[in-house]
């Protein structure tokens, strides 16, 4: 129409460069996937599965903190809810693991909707406080309820047979299943960010009053993002319970909400792979330190890492790397 030839050419040039960036990104993803596929032959599969579960948890959290701009301090509740529901169904009703995981995820979605409806109108620190308070309520509920086993937790959850015929007691089968779950969750997040909905989320994060003045009911969009995040956190918790055959109060404790914040910030908030790197980094560090002579100093060291990250490397590992790459390879 009124568009001039030069502007058309410019737009297509930009689309070309976007395509090139996309190709590069796909190459990186494929390389990571290759690593993930051979990893269980090089490292202890159960530890790798732990990383995958927490990476998914952190990615889910990042959707809210990094891509919606909400600091939730209650995500432990969703992780634990997924875990307990799945654990209960697998132990008491002998359902197949995929059904247990689906129901656990659904429970987290419902709880997330409830949390969201009560908190989403609040800004900043008030939002964090309400999510924390609600999560504490959930913690005490799980502490008192019978089916959770209280302080002892739920032990000896059977892994069972995936779809009724794949024996998950085999760590390798279990690993590839967890990897598949992680990839589904990760791809959903990646799509959400690069969707029409993601564009609106970005607009809200960048300038909320302006998004409102363009007719967007921003609370509704935030709520949807929050519920997706809660569901994926639940999915991570459900899967974790199947892996470790255990659901415990640890997952519902506010420490866990803090830990996922730590992982996300250390890895790089608002970057797609940051939370994965952060989860890997924090879990590996904890693991190494726990085996060393340092013992109880683990938490102090983690604290120092956290402070260093917040003060000097605000963008996190991946964020700082991206900055570095932009500066030096452009």
């Amino acid at each position: 129409m009124a568009m001039t030839e030069t502007t058309k050419a410019r737009v297509s040039a930009v689309q070309e460069s976007k395509k090139a960036a996309n190709r590069r990104r796909i190459m990186i993803y494929l390389a990571l996937l290759a690593v993930a596929l051979i990893a269980p032959f090089l490292a202890y599969p159960v530890f790798l599965m732990k990383i995958l579960c927490f990476a998914l948890f952190a990615c889910a959290f990042n959707l809210v903190l990094g891509y919606t701009g909400l600091l939730s301090f209650g995500h432990a509740a969703f992780l634990a809810t997924g875990g307990y529901f799945t654990g209960y169904l697998l132990s008491q009703h002998a359902v197949t693991p995929e059904v247990g995981i689906l129901v656990g995820t659904l429970a987290a979605i419902i709880l997330g909707t409830f949390f969201g409806l009560l908190s989403i109108r609040r800004q900043g620190i008030y939002f964090a406080m309400i999510t924390l308070a609600l999560a504490q309520l959930v913690f005490f509920f799980y502490l008192q309820a019978d089916f959770t086993g209280g302080e002892d937790g739920m032990q000896g959850v059977p892994r069972g047979y995936l779809f009724g015929f794949i024996d998950l007691e085999n760590n390798l089968s279990m690993y590839y299943f967890v990897l598949a779950v992680f990839l589904i969750g990760f791809m959903l997040i990646q799509r959400t960010i690069h969707s029409p909905f993601g564009q609106v989320l970005k607009a809200i994060r960048e300038n909320e009053p302006r998004a409102t003045s363009l007719g967007y009911n921003v609370d509704a969009y935030k709520l949807v993002a929050f519920v997706i995040s809660a569901g994926l956190a639940g999915l991570a918790g459900s899967t974790k319970t199947v892996v470790f055959q255990l659901a415990s109060l640890n997952d519902a404790h506010w420490h866990m909400s803090g830990e996922v914040i730590l992982m996300t910030l250390v890895g790089g908030v608002g970057t797609l792979v940051g939370p994965i790197v952060g989860a890997t980094f924090v879990l590996t560090l904890t693991h190494q330190l726990a085996q060393s002579a340092l013992g109880d100093w683990v938490n102090v060291i983690l604290g120092v890492v956290f402070v260093a990250c917040v003060m000097a490397f605000r963008a996190g590992i991946v964020g700082e790397l991206q900055k570095f790459a932009k500066k030096n390879f452009k």
Binding site: M1, T7, R10, Q199, K202, T212, S213, L214
Partner: protein, 258 residues
Amino acid sequence: MSQEFVLETRGLTKEFRGFTAVDSVNLQVKEGNIHALIGPNGAGKTTLFNLLTKYLPITRGDILYRGKSIAKMKSSEIARLGVVRSFQISAVFPHMTVLENVRVALQRPMGNSFHFWKHEKVLNQLNDRAMDLLESVGLEEYADNITVELPYGRKRALELATTLAMEPTIMLLDEPTQGMGLEDVDRVTELIRKAAVGRTILMVEHNLRVVSKLCNQVTVLARGTVIAEGDYASVSANPQVKEAYMGSEADEEQETAS
């Protein structure tokens, strides 16, 4: 009720903990007018805009859009009705491209804004319209720039293009030329004149030269109340207006001196 007025307030009042920022304002904005809202700093102009678009809850009074009360509506609903505001501080999405800024405004009527499972490339079908809008404010060659990189005047032009993408029936512009050099002021004035065709504009403007060139109705606000109304000539001759302005300018000089 006559539909002569697009926007009308009745006894509109806003109190902040005992301090009355907007005091029983009866404002009537006629269809097709470019209506200026002027007054010294702190008169309550921005607060009035915030009430009209429900960015602040109102203390008392009513707001009518084409004769119907919108006082109980949400900001986003009012925007969807066609009452679209801009902000005193430039309101763009800084880390989106210039094209994306406009596209966000075009996107909502497509009805896919909640579709988190679709790829964002479905939005590309809006690119032609977005480019047309950018062209109308002279920004077509900046389409792919990240918005933060634009100079201030261009950001305000982008804001206007984004607002126009909403196809508003009435635009509320809060100091659209504030902080601009002469050249930019003239350009934005022309853009507003063009944008006003077929719609109504209510604008806060400090630059009286712009007001006299552009606006066919002026309302003067001081200390939260309307002290004069009419065309520019009659309002500027009003002794009360002169006094309000003189007073505030003296205040400002003191402020900058201290």
